[in-house]
């Protein structure tokens, strides 16, 4: 059961937030052919893991570089830190070659988090695409741990193809045990796929939630979120009940290198999770 206090955002374990703490790889698991989840334990055995769903860490692979990766694990687990990432660049490619026992530098957790009390007594619609399901998994754990506080919870998930669907086992378990309505759609089907084919947008249009009493959480490619926001707007969900996880180039993650600026804020400290009314003036504006 998550015991985080809303106002107390844990900001990492060390005095100087530019110095990585050393962790060891505990397990590495392939989710799809280019996405993997790895779990880390701190070298300092006494250190307790503490983060809020939606936050991210800066992960450093010796001699290669440092990248921001969303934490994808269960916030109630204080001994292991999980991340899920695609292997696309130099650092993540090096990461997917790590083995249990290898070291990794960790700075964080940084950033804002998914709302944790907004949803009480409301419907929830969670709209995710591709790797965007990973930063949402911690909030799903949190919600399932106190399922009775919410009304309908709908998860809409778009993936490239059936073999790219993440966390299949967990989705099934939540669907069965915790009354989580899960609708998955793929851009292109493989033979044998008997589910939705197409984009997430029409699913948003038809999902069974009450727009006047719903909180929406969105995470995925920006263009997917743009279309999903339009559908939510069409259905009458107000801007201050929509939350989006945004991404920009990150270097320091501390709010002063300037790289992650997104309009009037910094994604590393004002985000990555934004309430939509905070960014409506710049969202979707090209090249902001």
């Amino acid at each position: 059961m998550a015991t985080m206090i809303e106002n107390e955002v844990p900001q990492g374990l060390n005095a100087d937030p530019m110095i990585p703490q050393l962790y060891r790889v505990d397990r590495v698991r392939d989710e799809t052919d280019d996405t993997f989840t790895f779990s880390l334990v701190p070298e300092n055995g006494e250190a307790k893991i503490s983060f809020l769903p939606g936050q991210f860490n800066m992960l450093y692979v010796f001699g290669t570089g440092e990248v921001p990766i969303s934490i994808s694990g269960n916030p109630a687990m204080t001994s292991v830190l999980e991340h899920t990432t695609r292997s696309v660049g130099i650092v993540t490619k090096a990461m997917c070659l790590l083995k249990p026992g290898d070291q990794i530098g960790v700075r964080g957790p940084f950033g804002s988090h998914w709302p944790l009390n907004e949803e009480n007594g409301r419907d929830l619609v969670i709209i995710s695409g591709g790797i965007g399901l990973a930063p949402l998994r911690p909030v799903l754990y949190f919600l399932m741990a106190q399922r009775e506080k919410y009304r309908k919870i709908v998860l809409l998930y778009g993936a490239r193809a059936p073999e790219d669907i993440l966390f299949k086992k967990e989705l099934e378990r939540w669907r069965g045990k915790f009354d989580l309505e899960v609708q998955v759609t793929v851009d292109r089907a493989a033979s044998g796929w008997r589910g939705n084919v197409g984009v997430v947008t029409p699913l948003v249009a038809r999902a069974p939630f009450d727009p006047s009493n719903t909180v929406a959480l969105l995470c995925g490619p920006e263009v997917m979120m743009r279309y999903a926001v339009m559908e939510l707007q069409k259905r009458g969900v107000p801007h201050d009940r929509m939350y989006l996880s945004m991404e920009r180039n990150m270097k320091c993650a501390l709010g002063y290198c300037g790289h992650c600026q997104y309009g009037p804020g910094f994604v590393c400290k004002d985000g990555p999770v934004y309430r939509f009314d905070q960014i409506v003036s710049v969202f979707g504006k090209s090249e902001v």
Partner: protein, 383 residues
């Protein structure tokens, strides 16, 4: 004999020789004394051991894309405004190693840098630069994380500020409410007066440290008439700024014009050379570089100055969010005049004019803002 420490609300007067003695006291007290000097045809901030090292008898001529030094007819010590340098390079060094990592037998350890603080004394800090320092203080010291490097360098700086009595060709501190008179953030503030054969400095005391320092050199109380004369010089300077910027509702105005055609027009001229960001006293963007040696066993992390105009600044997922000069210039200007207000509560611009002077094509931030604002006025007048 130690003179009694003067009271705060007294104005004092120093001769140029007495000012020189002040610099000697600072040096004796192990301050690294930095001030304006001339090198390669420009005013740069560098080590100053006496008033002879200052640009005595020089002034500057500044315009869009133009900077020249010119001889004055007098021997003013501070008869110019600002050059390409700003004080940020001392508190926010252009390149700093953050830590080293060593790998042995497959395992690595991180060794943080140990740093020693240098005691700086800044001589000749302009009012706009005082504001720039306090703006950067907000960025580096008042956020969720304190930048320890900035903090280390920023503490214990002794500041001798200088009012501007002759504004520069691209200055607009009066519009930004940041000058020409030094208001706060200094230990001592000087107004240089050359009038009817006399040459002296009216001194305002800002802090106890300032009072203590000046008590170490011979000084006198300033005559009321001299103080008033000095104040008038500064007040007059405020009326003769080279540029002006209407800051009323500028944030909202820029947000409304985020897709204005003017951005395309300025983009035709902007070279994305990043000069403006290098010379701007408030620009704070940096990058983090991870380096390894050839053996692959030693790694280092460095922080270096960066600019939002560089190609990869906004690189994510295979391409840059801002890849065109249009979007980069817009980001820089909107950050400086609009987003900064949302981020830090003040404007990011202090009206020093450096970006106008040092832009190779003379792009003028005040002109860009004016054109957009006038465009709105015309549109609404047309009904």
């Amino acid at each position: 004999m130690t003179p009694k420490a003067p009271r705060f609300n007294n104005c004092l007067v120093l001769s140029p020789q007495q000012l020189d003695q002040l610099l000697q006291v600072l040096t004796k007290r192990d301050y690294e004394v930095l001030g304006p000097t001339i090198r390669e045809g420009a005013v740069v901030y560098d080590h100053v051991s006496s008033t002879k090292d200052l640009p005595v008898g020089w002034t500057d001529e500044q315009a869009g894309g133009k900077y020249r030094l010119k001889r004055r007819e007098d021997d003013a010590l501070f008869g110019f405004v600002v050059g390409a340098h700003s004080w940020k390079k001392f508190v926010f060094p252009p390149a700093m190693r953050l830590w080293q990592a060593h790998r042995t037998n497959g395992l690595f350890q991180i060794v943080p840098e140990t740093r020693k603080a240098t005691k700086f004394a800044f001589i000749g800090v302009r009012a706009c630069e005082l504001h720039a320092l306090s703006i950067q203080d907000k960025v580096f010291l008042k956020g969720p994380y304190v930048d320890s490097i900035y903090k280390l360098h920023r503490e214990n700086i002794f500041i001798v500020a200088v009012d501007c009595v002759q504004p520069g060709g691209t200055c607009f501190c009066a519009s930004m409410n940041t000058g020409p008179k030094a208001a706060t953030g200094f230990d001592l503030a000087l107004t240089e007066v050359l009038h009817e054969g006399r040459h002296h400095f009216i001194v305002r005391i800002g802090t106890k440290a300032g009072a203590d320092l000046i008590s170490q050199v011979p000084h006198e109380e300033a005559a009321a008439g001299d103080v008033e004369f000095a104040e008038n010089l500064v007040a007059e300077a405020a009326k003769h700024m080279g540029r002006s910027l209407d800051v009323n509702g500028i944030k909202e105005m820029l947000y409304r014009n985020i897709e204005h055609v003017r951005w395309d027009q300025v983009a035709d001229r902007c070279l994305s050379c990043s000069n403006c960001t290098m010379v701007c006293p408030t620009c704070f963007c940096s990058t983090v570089e991870d380096l390894t040696d050839l053996s692959g066993q030693q790694a280092e992390r460095w922080r270096k100055w960066d600019s939002c105009f560089t190609t990869d600044f906004s690189y994510i997922h295979g391409s840059s969010v801002r890849s065109t000069p249009r979007s980069k210039y817009r980001q820089w200007m909107m950050h400086k005049l609009a987003y900064w207000i949302d981020q830090f509560g003040t404007s990011g611009c202090v009206g020093c004019g450096r970006c106008i002077t040092w832009c190779p094509v003379g792009i003028d931030i005040t002109e860009e803002a004016r054109v957009m604002r006038e465009g709105e006025t015309l549109a609404s007048a047309a009904g």
